[in-house]
Amino acid sequence: MQNSMHLSINIIGDAFADIYCYLEGDMPSRGGDARLTQPIHKVPGGSGLNTATHLSSLLSNFGVNNTSNINLQTVINENDEYGKLLSNHCQKHNIRLINRRVSDIPACFFGTNESMQSNNEATSTGHCAVIVSKGERSFMTHLGTINEFEGEHILTNFQDLDSKSNTNTSVRQHAHIAGYFNITGFWDGKLKSKLEEMLKANQNMTISLVPQHDATEHWGGGLLDLLQYIDF
C-alpha cells in the first residue's frame, strides 16, 4: 500500500455479549434439565463487533504500509456487565467504539455530544444465549440497547471521527452496515437519508451491507430501498 493512503473504516451495526452453553447431549425437553460440558462463559459478539475485530487484526497483521482506523457505531449500556465486556474488547483490539445511545432530543444528533447520551440504566446491553448441542447452535437473543439504535442516530461525518488523518494524506472511506435485520430502528427509511448524506459528503466512499438472519422471517425491513446506495 502507498504510504500516503489512510483507510477510514466505519462499521455501523450490532454488538452483543454471547453467552455460550455447551450441552452434553440433546436440548432438554420442555421443563427438563440438561448437563453442560464446560462452564457457561461470555464472549463479545454481534456482526458489527465481530467484523470490526477481524478487520482490525487484518489491518494490523497485513496492512504494513498504510494507516487506518476502525470506528464501530453501535449502542450499548456502558455501565452494565455486558457493555463493559464489549467496550474492553474494542479497546484491546484498537476499535474506536462510538456509543450512539443518544436521547431523542434532535440537537444531540449532530457531532459526538456524549453529554446527550441516554442514561436509562434499566436497559441492558444486547446479549444472546448460544446453545451448542451436537455441533448445532441455537440462539436466543435479547436485543436490549440495540433496540434503541435508530437510523437517525448514525454519525455521517467520518472525517471528524478520524484523529489519524491529516491534510497531507489521501483518505479512503468505507462504511459497512452490519446486522441490518437485528436493528429494527434501521427499517424506517431514515438510514436511507443517512446514506445519502454520507455519499454527498464523500462521493468516493464505498458502502457495504450484511443483512444477517431475520429472526422475524419477513426479510423486508426496507432493505431493498437501500440497495441503490450499496456497492456490495
Binding site: L58, F62, W219
Partner: protein
C-alpha cells in the same frame, strides 16, 4: 450475505423438487438484477460467488476443513476478509484498479479469513496471520464465469 439470507430476501421457495444450488443462484441473480448491486453470497465450505446484473461473475472455492471447531461468526470474518482484500487492492497501486479485480481480491481474502476462523473457538477471536496465509496459499484458483458484466457503481 449467506445462502440462507439470500434465499430469504429473494423469497426463494425451496419446497420445489427442482432445488439445486445452480437453480438457487439463478433465482438470486434474477431477483437482484434490477438493483444493480454486487451481491456476494457465501456458500459455506463451497466458498462464495459474486453476482451482478444477472450474471455469476466469479466463483471462489475455499480450502476444505475436515474438523471445524466453531462456525459461529464465519460470515462476519468473511466480511472482514472481503473488506480487507477489496480495500487493500484499491489502495495497492492506483485508483484505476478495475473494480472486478478488487472484488476478486476481496473474495479470496474473504474465503481465507472465513475458513481460518472456523478453526478457532469464538466468533470475535481473530485468526493468526500464519493460519490465514496457509489458506491463502492453498486456496483454489478463482473461477471466472461466463458472465462478462462490468461493475458500474463502485468508483
Amino acid at each position: 450475505m449467506s445462502e440462507v439470507e439470500a434465499k430469504g430476501i429473494s423469497k426463494y421457495n425451496n419446497s420445489s423438487d427442482k432445488y439445486s444450488q445452480s437453480n438457487l443462484l439463478d433465482h438470486i441473480a434474477s431477483f437482484f438484477e434490477a438493483y444493480k448491486v454486487n451481491v456476494i453470497v457465501t456458500l459455506g465450505s463451497k466458498g462464495a460467488v459474486h453476482i451482478y446484473n444477472r450474471d455469476i461473475i466469479h466463483q471462489q472455492e475455499t480450502t476444505p476443513i475436515l474438523n471445524p471447531i466453531d462456525p459461529t461468526g464465519a460470515g462476519d470474518s468473511f466480511a472482514a476478509g472481503f473488506l480487507y482484500g477489496y480495500l487493500s487492492c484499491k489502495t495497492k497501486e492506483d485508483t484505476d484498479t478495475d473494480s472486478n479485480e478488487m472484488i476478486k481480491h476481496g473474495m479470496k481474502y474473504g474465503c481465507a479469513v472465513g475458513t481460518s476462523s472456523i478453526m478457532v473457538q469464538g466468533a470475535s477471536i481473530p485468526s493468526e496471520r500464519d493460519s490465514i496465509e496457509k489458506i491463502l496459499d492453498s486456496i483454489p484458483q478463482l473461477k471466472e464465469s461466463k458472465g462478462n458484466a462490468k461493475r458500474q457503481k463502485v468508483s
